[in-house]
């Protein structure tokens, strides 16, 4: 008997008792539906977190400030996810690195000196405002950086080409609204004003910049507005001109890579603390979120697994009944020369088909529901309205195929006992069967 005939016959037999087959598939569907949905949500969340980590740099990436500075910065960072810029406060002051601090930092064992990226205080503008509002707002974190250094997901518009000889800027999410634009797309093409204050004289110099994009918000982002090199330079030059001598060439924060094969994250943080610095690793920013979702995922997978175990008992039962009912047919097939192997294969394929249909229906339905939920969460008022690039459910081909394969394999295992029984039936059983 050819393979194709075996598969065709198995599928034909499967749908002889339609109701029973349907009920068994239903049971498998419930299990695979749970697991698919769960793996999609896990993948969606982890994707999002990884996206955010890519924005920062990677696992060996560390953000260093002078001890005590993290709180003020942390406030700005935490603020990002919520998407509301902090109003400009004249008394706010950052604790900066000096050149001496930098030299000390470079000599710390485990820090890759060549990777040090100084976030110039100089590029921090003092406030940002627009024609639509009288309020002034602080720049987040690093103020303004040249575009091109980071991967930045955008909600609307583009990241400025750093080489463009124009003052172009991509704002962070939340700013358009604060600056008096109801929708993110409304600010595209509009001009915003960046103010820089001379801390000695109190004089203010303002720059105009054209907004060409709005960045997507993130929960762990450590970022600033992205601008063209020209804009960054103008701002920096102006800041340096106005800044007192002592504040020139100082740094707001330093980012660097550390040797993560030599030190664990907590070890390097301890070393930094001993030297009067504060470090913040990627895990600090994303770790808790990963841990939470992974734990949730395990629990949900256990539920899915239990459902699948129940479903496989259903498969065993269905196939045993089928073997009993088809005793005569099996006997006849054997009398006509069908091998044990083929009979085993036929029943195994029936089991695998049950797994296939159950998981296929589970996948299709979970994808439909997942996409509906994804859309709903991004609607105005939805829980993820503020995070348009974050899809709660992320269905990947890899996930889908893995779940399908696992379900079909479980179905095969469940089918082995009935298939074995069928294969080893005595042909004369059929001939005597009344």
């Amino acid at each position: 008997m050819s393979i194709i005939d075996t598969i065709r016959t198995a599928n034909h037999n499967l749908f002889r008792n339609k109701l029973r087959t349907f009920l068994t598939i239903l049971a498998i569907f419930i299990g695979s539906f749970t697991i698919i949905l769960n793996s999609a949500i896990n993948s969606g969340v982890n994707n999002f977190i990884d996206d955010q980590i890519d924005m920062i740099g990677g696992k060996d990436y560390i953000v260093i400030t002078k001890a005590g500075a993290m709180n003020s910065m942390g406030g700005a960072m935490m603020n990002m996810g919520a998407g509301t810029p902090i109003e400009y406060d004249e008394n706010a002051q950052a604790v900066s690195f000096t050149k001496n601090d930098l030299a000390k930092f470079e000599s710390i064992d485990g820090i890759d000196a060549s990777s040090i990226d100084r976030q110039d205080s100089g590029t921090s503008y003092t406030y940002i405002t627009s024609e639509k509002t009288s309020k002034k707002y602080q720049g987040n974190g690093l103020g303004i950086m040249p575009a091109g250094d980071f991967t930045i997901p955008m909600i609307v518009g583009d990241i400025p080409d750093p080489e463009t000889k124009e003052n172009l800027i991509a704002l962070e999410s939340g700013y358009p609204k604060a600056l008096g634009y109801d929708k993110d797309e409304d600010i595209i093409g509009e001009t915003v004003t960046l103010g820089i204050k001379d801390e000695v004289t109190g004089k203010v110099k303002e720059f105009k910049a054209k907004v060409i994009g709005v960045q997507a918000p993130g929960v762990v982002a450590f970022n600033g507005a992205a601008g063209t090199k020209q804009l960054v330079k103008e701002v920096k030059d102006e800041v340096e001109k106005y800044y007192p001598e002592a504040k020139r060439n100082t740094y707001y924060a330093i980012t660097a890579r550390f040797d993560n094969s030599k030190y664990t994250e907590s070890e390097i943080k301890q070393i930094l603390e001993d030297n009067g610095f504060e470090g913040m690793t990627v895990s600090d920013m994303s770790g808790m979120i990963h841990v939470f979702f992974d734990a949730m995922s395990v629990i949900l997978n256990i539920f899915g697994g239990i459902a699948l175990i129940a479903a496989s008992i259903g498969i065993i039962n269905t196939l045993f009944m089928s073997v009993e009912e088809r005793t005569r047919e099996i006997g006849l097939n054997k009398a006509l020369g069908m091998s044990n192997g083929r009979i085993f294969a036929e029943f195994s394929i029936e089991a695998i088909s049950l797994g296939f249909w159950g998981s296929a229906v589970g996948i299709i339905l979970s994808m439909i529901i997942g996409n509906i939920v994804n859309n709903l969460t991004h609607q105005p008022g939805g829980i993820l309205e503020a995070l348009p690039t974050f899809n709660l459910f992320n269905f990947t081909i890899g996930n889908i195929l893995t779940v399908m394969f696992i379900v079909m394999f479980i179905a095969f295992l469940a089918g082995t006992a009935p298939a074995w029984k069928a294969a080893h039936k005595n042909p004369i059983d059929a001939l005597r069967y009344e």
Partner: protein, 233 residues
Amino acid sequence: MNTVIEVKNLTKTYGKKANAFTALKNVSLNIYKGESVAIIGKSGSGKSTLMHSLALLDKPTAGTIKIDGVDSTKLKGKALNQLRNKSFGFVFQQFFMNPSDSVLENVTLPLKIAGIRRKKRHQLASDALKTVELTEREKFKANDLSGGQKQRVCIARAIVNNPKILFADEPTGNLDSTTGDKIIKLLFDLNKDKGVTLIIVTHDEDLAKLCDRQIRISDGTIAEETKTKKGKK
């Protein structure tokens, strides 16, 4: 004459120890190529067990069965399946058909098991159905046929693989006499025209007399062996 089946001291016991029941005791017989043999006896006499043993569907407790000179105990797995599939044909009293499948599908079963391609096996099955004069019923569900038609489908299924030996277990048992006569004619035509060795298990004396030879089984042993005189059929 060529011996196709050679049975020596065949004993078959069912059950164990105290419950043991001996269905066949020391049966020896030969079946020759192209002949028609009736195995007759009352129910419970052991005639069905004998046929099952001859067809290698049941293993003897003692004794030997040789098919074309080959000891049956040496036939295992693939060789045994090939023999059943290619050399034997079966016609059963209870038909054993897949009621939901078409007549054609039922007839192709042995060919499907043999791994013959779909197109070819449909052709061969059509030919077999032509022999039993059921061409116009090809597409019918097996369940929608009358008893006689069902038995003809079974014969078509039994001959579709061009077997050397055709085993018929009470082929007319479920049929009225007119329909039964048709089936009998079909079987003997196959025997005469195609040289198929015919082994019929029956309790019907009239049917038995139509065969070249009658082997009467009683209490698990051969009680009598008779030959029909030529030209008397």
